[in-house]
């Protein structure tokens, strides 16, 4: 019996994020091939209720570290609790989302455990007994397949890539409390202030639909055209580097090699020419629509559907139709 697969469950407003379910489904599929255990690892405060339903998505066991000092994520507290637990239980594989938390936590945990980490994985499968990780390099211009040397292997999983299966509504996960042994050295990092832009729109990397704009928008005031369409579709707003460098929109909206890599179901590129760095960041989208007045624009070479036209005419029209559809339900 190997040590099983762990999924670190990240929560928002006391509920697991979508990526948590995606990883549980992935872990379940792999575990079933080898009769392994899937454990969800839940750190936070007052998350007992949240633990119960994880069984339905594939967890056999929930390790629950419930402590006020874990209410907000900090690098050193979470690393300490997870490293202690991993040393005690020796899992074979530990997964976390490729999220703000996963990017900060997993390299630290990997270093503390003296182990390997695959970042931003878009593939994970068994080849015989060996776990094979697939991840983009050069922002998706190429892919790497690799395997871990030694255990536990660590990986962060790209959101929006793996499907969710609610496997067994009767599965009751065993909830096992985890000791929390935190010292003052683990509390060196202090969060002074959190500033959140209130937005009803989904996070760019998790969105199913992204409406993205570039130089063709001509100015910051025209991003409201994208916002209107994004809201009609329940999507997020993105931008090309050209629009960000022009100061029209903040960098956190940038898609591409020096911004975010996204894989939505639908990516609508408006007034984006399609520089190689941008294509690298969104080329794995399932369906790409390009709206651009230049028929020679690079973006048309990979778009599934294109409209050659003036986005200032096309976007309001498209937004109108999408609003009608939304109103019809």
């Amino acid at each position: 019996m190997s040590g099983g697969i762990w999924v670190i469950i990240e929560t928002r407003d006391q509920k697991p994020k979508k990526i948590a379910y995606e990883m549980l489904s992935l872990a379940r599929r792999i575990a079933n091939q080898q009769g392994e255990e899937v454990a969800a690892v839940l750190l936070g405060s007052g998350l007992g209720e949240c633990a119960v339903e994880l069984g339905q998505y594939g967890a056999d066991r929930v390790y629950l570290a419930d402590d006020e000092r874990l209410a907000a994520y900090t690098t050193l507290t979470y690393t300490k609790v997870l490293a202690d637990l991993a040393r005690a239980k020796s899992p074979r594989l530990v997964l976390s989302g490729y999220t703000v938390m996963g990017r900060d936590l997993m390299p630290r945990l990997a270093a503390r455990l003296g182990t390997g980490l695959f970042t931003d994985c878009t593939g994970l499968e068994l080849d015989g007994q060996e776990l094979v990780f697939t991840r983009p390099v050069y922002a998706g211009k190429a892919y790497l397949r690799g395997a871990a040397v030694g255990t536990p292997a660590l990986a962060t999983i790209r959101p929006n890539v793996f499907g969710i299966q609610k496997t067994d509504t009767n599965r009751q996960a065993v909830v096992e409390p985890v000791p929390v042994d935190i010292s003052s050295a683990d509390l060196r990092q202090v969060i002074r202030e959190v500033m959140c832009q209130v937005s009803a729109r989904p996070e760019l990397t998790e969105a199913d639909i992204i409406v993205s704009g570039g130089r063709g928008l001509k100015g910051p005031e025209n991003f409201q055209l994208l916002e209107g369409l994004a809201d009609a579709l329940g999507g997020a707003v993105g931008a090309s580097r050209a629009a960000v460098d022009a100061g029209w929109i903040e960098h956190r909206f940038q898609v591409g090699q020096t911004g975010k890599t996204v894989s939505p179901v639908l990516y609508i590129a408006c007034g984006i020419s399609g520089a190689i760095q941008h294509l690298a960041g969104m080329g794995s989208s399932k369906c790409i629509v390009a709206i651009n007045k230049d028929p020679e624009a690079n973006i048309f070479k990979l778009a599934d559907y294109g409209i050659v036209g003036d986005l200032f005419e096309v976007l309001p029209e498209l937004t109108g139709v999408c609003r009608e559809l939304k109103a019809q339900g």
Partner: protein, 258 residues
């Protein structure tokens, strides 16, 4: 204030990626640059040193002979000295190995702050700087867009989902730079001339306090591949209103995307 900047030489982001005959990534003829995120780190280090009025900025990099060019550029931009760790034993090194090597080099000095880009634009792995923080047992703040140092503590603003947060840690600490932190300066003519006289130290693994297992990789490469090329799809003709109706139809019926 003594600041180390971890620097990586990467392919130009303009580079097209192809596979070499041995299945690896073709590097011949590719223009090499300083990882853009590391440029933000270097710029921030220079500004913090200027503000403190004393100390030095040391750029540290591990890699092959061409890394020397990147380090000279960093010196020309304003860094005081450079350390180049080069050793045939580093062929096939992974993040675990490189972090061990960089941490061992940093332990030879004494630094108040260690800065690096939050990820490199080549492997995009985003691990090495954080691993170094752990090996040095110092706190980290990842993906920062603003930094202030005061009285032995650093306050940094980091990106989080849907906003940002301000985090405080005691020095020494590791910070990783995000785009937006600053606007990096270019090397001046005078800087380029001065860089030739600035110290660039070469180290091999035997110069560092490392045990045999410390640098043995924890991951192995199976293969590289290129993504399946996307085909150009269909251009929908017609006036805006007509084209939009058709686009919505195909998105619902063919692509099932909305």
């Amino acid at each position: 204030m003594n600041i180390a900047v971890l620097l990586k030489q990467t392919f130009d982001t303009e580079a097209k990626i192809s596979l070499a005959a041995d299945g690896g990534i073709q590097s011949e003829g590719v223009n090499l640059i300083i990882n853009p995120y590391d440029e933000f780190a270097l710029e921030e280090a220079l500004r913090l040193k200027e503000k403190a009025g004393s100390g030095e900025v040391v750029v540290v990099s591990a890699g092959g002979p061409r890394v020397g060019e990147a380090l000279r550029t960093a010196l020309a931009t304003g860094a005081d000295r450079a350390i180049h760790i080069e050793d045939p034993a580093l062929d096939g090194a992974d993040e675990f190995s490189v972090a061990a090597v960089l941490a061992a080099a940093l332990k030879k000095g004494s630094f108040d702050l260690i800065l690096a880009g939050w990820r490199a634009v080549d492997d995009g792995s985003g691990q090495v700087a954080i691993r170094v923080a752990e090996l040095l047992d110092v706190p980290q703040v990842n993906v920062v867009t603003a930094v202030a140092v005061d009285d032995g503590r650093v306050t940094a603003t980091m990106d989080i989902e849907g906003g940002c947060q301000v985090v405080e840690v005691p020095l020494p600490a590791v910070l990783t730079a995000q785009k937006g932190l600053n606007e990096p300066r270019y090397p001046s003519m005078r800087g380029i001339m001065q860089a030739k006289k600035k110290p660039l130290e070469h180290l091999a693994l035997s110069d560092l306090d490392l045990a045999a297992g410390d640098t043995a990789p924890k991951t192995k490469l199976i293969c590289h591949s290129l993504p399946a090329g996307r085909q150009a799809g269909r251009v929908i003709e017609g006036e805006a209103a007509e084209a939009v109706r058709e686009l919505v139809r195909v998105l619902r019926e063919e692509a099932k995307a909305i």
